[in-house]
Point group: C3
Chain length 422, copies 3
């Protein structure tokens, strides 16, 4: 029926290759990066199946047999504490006929028993028992398929690739001394919840990477000095009192951390390495302690070995999918996981000192209020951007002077995609 001379249309993957190669720096991505199925599949393959992904706090699985399951795209991964107290990770799929093994979000098991035909695996992944097999059946050939896993000072990362990026060790070495005082691995999980985002995972990340929109976060901004990306010469007379307060708080924080013998340096390697990250020590406004109104504390018991409530915010950003706020009295950790081209899940977990008692040392609503509100506000902004980027009337626009971390995130992302093409 069709003329033989027709020029073949480029295949979907070639169109994406061209988009990746042609990305223009300094402006938002072309629409297909947020709307195309082909890009989504590539993101799963190149970003989420090859890089280190933050998936859980180690404090969620304190005892042997405790597990969480994590959905990364179409993957489900079991993260479980082995009897030797190490964290292990396995594909959540039976080696017999493929049944999902653990359908729940979390729990505790002695063995991992398939609900279909009772194939029984240890928490080390080894197949212990399978009925009605011929004499030739070798259980050692049917262990659960392992997934790379690392516990960095109480933060659990997995990598679905055969070869995980080796870069992680060097970054862990930088981060570990900063994280150590908080003893996140021994913390207590005060709360965790999943928010269904109506936007591509990159829009959720880009939203996190700038405070240009922070007028929309009245609860959050009271804690911080709104001077992100300001240089000394940007300080107008009207801003001078605020700026002076900021300088004083920064000096106080530096003194306190020095007294603890803790490293003070910030790090910004957001798009200059495979395990891209940024670590900042941010002084807080008001009382300078935590997220309560006027910078007050939200928990009476301080984290780990922290001894001073005015300990600022250790803010950590990791590519591609996580960020963390560590304060003197609690920590909040965030992971973004894609669920479809236009949807993703934001998981938020609040950690407190293991001895902190709800209703005595902290009020759960007060502890979680700021980030529940902030997440909801961001959810609406992300949904509106997904809608707009899906409109054929969308064209990429320029980043402002205070969106350099968005640009860094996009650079990191595009660099990974370009490496994969090459």
């Amino acid at each position: 029926m069709t003329a033989q001379t027709a020029v073949p249309a480029p295949a979907a993957h070639e169109v994406v290759d061209d988009l990746v190669r042609g990305r223009v720096a300094g402006q938002s991505l072309e629409a297909p990066f947020y709307t195309s199925e082909e890009v989504y599949r590539r993101d799963l393959d190149v970003i989420f199946a090859r890089n280190w992904i933050f998936v859980a706090a180690a404090a969620e699985i304190p005892e042997p047999g405790d597990y969480v399951t994590v959905d990364v795209g179409e993957y489900s991964v079991i993260v479980v504490r082995d009897d030797d107290e190490q964290v292990r990770a396995f594909h959540n799929v039976c080696r017999h006929r493929g049944s999902r093994l653990l359908p729940e979000r979390q729990g505790a098991v002695g063995n991992i028993v398939c609900p279909y035909h009772r194939w029984t695996y240890g928490v080390d992944g080894r197949l212990r028992f399978a009925e009605s097999q011929p004499a030739t059946f070798d259980t050692t050939c049917f262990s659960l398929r392992p997934v790379h896993v690392r516990d960095l000072a109480g933060l659990v990362f997995i990598c679905l690739a055969e070869q995980a990026p080796q870069d992680f060790d060097a970054v862990a070495e930088v981060l570990e001394p900063h994280l150590r005082p908080y003893e996140l691995g021994k913390a207590k999980v005060a709360a965790t919840y999943d928010l269904a985002e109506a936007g591509n995972w990159k829009l959720v990340m880009e939203n996190n990477r700038e405070c240009y929109h922070c007028d929309g976060h009245p609860e959050l901004i009271t804690a911080y000095f709104p001077l992100f990306a300001y240089e000394a010469e940007d300080i107008t007379p009207r801003l001078k009192p605020l700026y002076d307060r900021y300088v004083k708080a920064a000096e106080a924080l530096e003194k306190i951390r020095a007294a603890h013998g803790l490293p003070l340096t910030d790090h910004r390697e957001l798009d200059t390495r495979v395990v891209g990250f940024q670590l900042s020590h941010l002084p807080l406004d008001g009382e300078g302690k935590s997220f309560a109104p006027n910078g007050g504390a939200v928990c009476r018991t301080l984290m780990g070995q922290v001894q001073d409530a005015a300990f600022g915010d250790l803010s950590l950003h990791l590519q591609p999918n996580s960020w963390f706020h560590l304060l003197s009295d609690h920590a909040v950790v965030f992971s973004v996981l894609p669920t479809s081209t236009g949807t993703s899940t934001l998981r938020t977990t609040w950690l407190v000192h293991p001895a902190a008692v709800e209703g005595v040392d902290y009020d759960l609503d007060a502890l979680t209020a700021v980030w529940r509100a902030t997440n909801d506000q961001d959810r609406a902004l992300v949904a509106g951007t997904q809608a707009g980027c899906s409109d054929p009337g969308y064209v990429p626009g320029p980043y402002s002077m205070v969106e350099d971390d968005v640009e860094a995130f996009v650079n990191w992302y595009v660099t990974r995609l370009r490496e994969a093409i090459a």
Copy 2:
């Protein structure tokens, strides 16, 4: 893995090209026209993004700053009255990072302010303010992207193409004298509602273009003479009394319109020009006034400058997506907009004289009863046809003698698709 000698399957767009070229006149379209994603995308591109589309009554946005938003496929368009009282249309997307600007169906604004980072546009589309920009930033480069818009005697049409069909001016010249007496632009919106249709947009239009199924509309048919497409020789003795009544009503209508000095001619150019249309002056049965039982009125106040209640029905059909019934005491306007291959939205709006008061001059239920019922009945018929056309057991069937306007709609549609291929 695959043999090198395989003959490549034709690409999806080539299959559609062949369907378009091979369309057989006189019978319903092949199934893919109602069920294929590729045809749907082509309909959006060739029909809805290149032609004049009816989207709103001007009466919905009477004051400067009043706006409606309209979804055409994946496009969202802001239709807003500018401070100079002209109607403007813009893509509903921020020029910064693509956020949807106005998420509501309608409202009133001073400026159009992006909810994400507060970029602020005038209702003329110009960017008035954007924070944290470098000195080199030129606001004139970031106006909202405009969409062609025309207000034809109170009916608002948009065209998403770069170049809109010029044919519109000639059609407007024909229609304007017929529409003028109703003063639709000054009318009051009595009611508007959206009906979610479970069928491809073309099935909704085809359903509107014939009365072969009108036995299913008991409320509607009492107003009309059921003699569509009848010739004098078709009048049997049993039909004679009805026919005589019709002739008498038609003569009376002609006399009344002549007394108003109004044009009497009907026009039928459904598939003979790009802006295809049909305009008919239909006498009504019974009292001959409006849609109340026995042809009675549904509103005490007559439209615009209309002075005689027995003014018939000015019935207007426009390709590709609208129809209109203008009566002495109210008007009903309809637009069909595609939402997916198998779904669409029918928007119905009732207009009355601006001085008509609900509960005094008209009862809202009585005003809207006939077309609410008719729309619901048609919805079921369209849904059943979408289901049947999606069945591999479907084959196109022949149009009857009273489905010539369906054929004309399909001809118009296929002609546009053939032009686009050529």
Copy 3:
């Protein structure tokens, strides 16, 4: 934009061809067989549109004009009893503009009248009336499009192909003498219901074809001897009493059936012919009668001409989509029909003697309890397997020694697909 030297990716259908050709015996299928749209379309085309499909019990349409409609993929088929008492089948689509004719699951009609424009067909499929047609219109050209249909001893099968597999006659000849005593065609429908399965149709079938998972069916297994696929040498001392009971029950069943003059032979031709099937006469445990606790009866009236309550279970499996349990006091018949790649519908129908009265001869809950429970249990197992097979971490695993009928089902299926490629 794209390099001219790119090697074209294989088309979707070529990828599936390769999967079909490369299928490895003895283990579960590759993931795309359960998750790919391309395989789903091929299953509809090669399996469901070319083979004999069980769709209804004849007892559902006892009188002329009684009909059921059946959805097979995107097909809807009317199965109706004609005035001559024969069962007919037609595509459920009007020959005019394609409206669905009968939207209900079942009912009774004099004629089949299209709800759109009143085209009127007899229950023999002939067009009897269509209004407003030209003189040249020939009704005989617009009969409903027929579908092959067979009533095998009260079980209704359809085939959507032009040429139905001729193999059916030979299988019918084998089965008919076994089915005859139950008089299914004259039975009464006690209950029927549809269960929405969250799994590909093949997972539902594979689940039915083994009892390796039957520990999960506590209600069902009490009736059966759990010795499926056991050889005499597999009987351990612990199993000896059970085995002796089984041998005694089997001998008793043989004697009873001989007294009825009924064939005793089992048949297993699951993957050795196009109309693959298996017929087994299974003795029951306990009272040996039916599915009540301890093998008791669930209905006082025996089926058809059956005269002995301890009549065992005539278990019938048919490829690709059905199974049947015929007992002395009732029958349960099952069909699986695909609704999307990852979903399907399981229809279960319970039949009893036409004179059996609900509340007197049988309690409806007791009659249906075992298979309602079993279906629900299987539904969860199938859903878990669909989830696991959709995980990129899935790899095919080996069948155990008691899953040979699963292997036979898969062999039958892959053989059909290979024939279609050749």
